[in-house]
Amino acid sequence: SQKIEQNSEALNIQEGKTATLTCNYTNYSPAYLQWYRQDPGRGPVFLLLIRENEKEKRKERLKVTFDTTLKQSLFHITASQPADSATYLCAFRTGGFKTIFGAGTRLFVKA
C-alpha cells in the first residue's frame, strides 16, 4: 500500500538557519505533493503544493523540491524563526481519491 515516511525525530535548529525536512514515499507515483503545518491543538494548515513536473516551488521563506526518481520531497525554511516551530506534514492524494499524510516532523527553532 502507499506509504509516506517523514523523520520522526524532532529537528532542532538555531534561529536564522535553514531547516530542511524530508518526505519519502513508496508504492505510488503521486501527481503532486502537499505540505502542511500543524500547531499543537489545531488542525493542519496548507502551505504549498508541488506537481510532478515541477522541480521546485517557492513561497516567501519556504521552498519545496520534488524528485520523482528518488521518490522524495524536501521542505526548506530559510532564515528560520521561533514562530516557525511546529509539526510539518507532507501529503499526497492516491488514485483512490484519498489524501494520505505522513506522521510529520516536529521542528523547534531556538532563539
Binding site: 501527481a31 503532486y32 488542525g43 493542519p44 496548507f46 503544493l49 506534514l89 484519498k98 494520505i100 499524510f101
Partner: protein, 116 residues
C-alpha cells in the same frame, strides 16, 4: 461559514457508549474527509465523501465506525460502543475538488475524544 467547524471540541465518554461527532464543511466544498490523530501520531485516513459519489470507507477501522453526509453539507461520524483505543483527536477537512482533485484541504479544529 468561514471555515470548517467541528463540534463538540471536546468529548469525554464512558467505555461502551456511542458518540456522534459533527463537521460543517466550508460552503461549496464538494469533498469532505475524516481523519483520526492519536497523540503524537500522524493523520490516519478514515473516510472520504465526494459529491454524490459513493464514499470511500476504506479507512474505517471497524464496523463500530460509520459516517454520513447530507448532500454537500454536514457530516457526522458515529462511533458505537466506544473503546479506550478510540481516544484521539478526530479531524474533519473539506476541499473544493478541481478537475485534477489537487486542491488544498481545509481542516477544522478537531474533536478531542476521551474514552474513560
Amino acid at each position: 461559514g468561514a471555515g470548517v467547524s467541528q463540534s463538540p471540541s471536546n468529548k469525554v465518554t464512558e467505555k461502551g457508549k456511542d458518540v456522534e461527532l459533527r463537521c460543517d464543511p466550508i460552503s461549496g466544498h464538494t469533498a469532505l474527509y475524516w481523519y483520526r490523530q492519536r497523540l503524537g501520531q500522524g493523520l490516519e485516513f478514515l473516510i472520504y465523501f465526494q459529491g454524490n459519489s459513493a464514499p470511500d470507507k476504506s479507512g474505517l477501522p471497524s464496523d463500530r465506525f460509520s459516517a454520513e453526509r447530507t448532500g454537500e453539507s454536514v457530516s457526522t461520524l458515529t462511533i458505537q460502543r466506544t473503546q479506550q483505543e478510540d481516544s484521539a483527536v478526530y479531524l474533519c477537512a473539506s476541499s473544493l475538488e478541481g478537475t485534477r482533485g489537487n486542491t488544498e484541504a481545509f481542516f477544522g479544529q478537531g474533536t478531542r475524544l476521551t474514552v474513560v
